[in-house]
Symmetry: C2
Subunit: 111 residues, 2 copies
Amino acid sequence: MARARASIDVFHAVADPTRRAILDRLHGGGVAVAELAAGFEMSRPAVSKHLRVLRDARLVREDKEGRQRVYRLTPEPLRDVSAWIESYRSFWPASLMSLKRHLESGKESSR
Amino acid sequence: MARARASIDVFHAVADPTRRAILDRLHGGGVAVAELAAGFEMSRPAVSKHLRVLRDARLVREDKEGRQRVYRLTPEPLRDVSAWIESYRSFWPASLMSLKRHLESGKESSR
DNA sequence: AGATTCGGTAACCAATTGGTTACCATTGTC
DNA sequence: GACAATGGTAACCAATTGGTTACCGAATCT
């Protein structure tokens, strides 16, 4: 809710498998376009267009480094998706437990 | 991972704002098609088509009751989306805490 | 049985999507 | 300065989407 229209359309951006693959690929750190595109079957401009959608959705950031453009994850907008799903969590309580345990294992002793 | 191709395409199903609205509308319990459609600007067949997509994605169930079809939420496939987003959570740690607190307040004393 | 209601599907249409090739601006190298 | 590398954008195209109207089957009510 902080920055009003922060996300142009995160749900739409994330709906495409290629775009999710791009995000997944960026998970390990910044990647330049050429290197990114090399990992896909499609042409470089096609990847560029996907990157644009991701940029518009604020899911990635573009850093100009020399003559390359390095793309990096900025997945904060996914919070919107997560928040929306949150209200459906009550329908699968089992997963609640495992998530809780997951969080617990990260923090150890809180309560 | 359990049932292999359980979801035809949850991400796609959820990408459309109307379909999300339908799911939200179903949040309170089962609703028949006519009543559902009344809540939207578009025609009844248009809603029917959205329902089909949601059905294919296993996000809703259709119960025939008399001559009505009552639709109900079966949002388990959203777990796939949630799981995918999970790996990006590390990028916004603040939310981790609040979620944990949210879970804690719901269960109170576990272990 | 006949009429009515409920809702899925078919046929169709305009707009959008995801891909292509061609072109261009910018940056780095010789 | 000339040339190569990098990558965004334009123009175009086929396939998909989201909507419409028309039709039809199934269930309910006289």
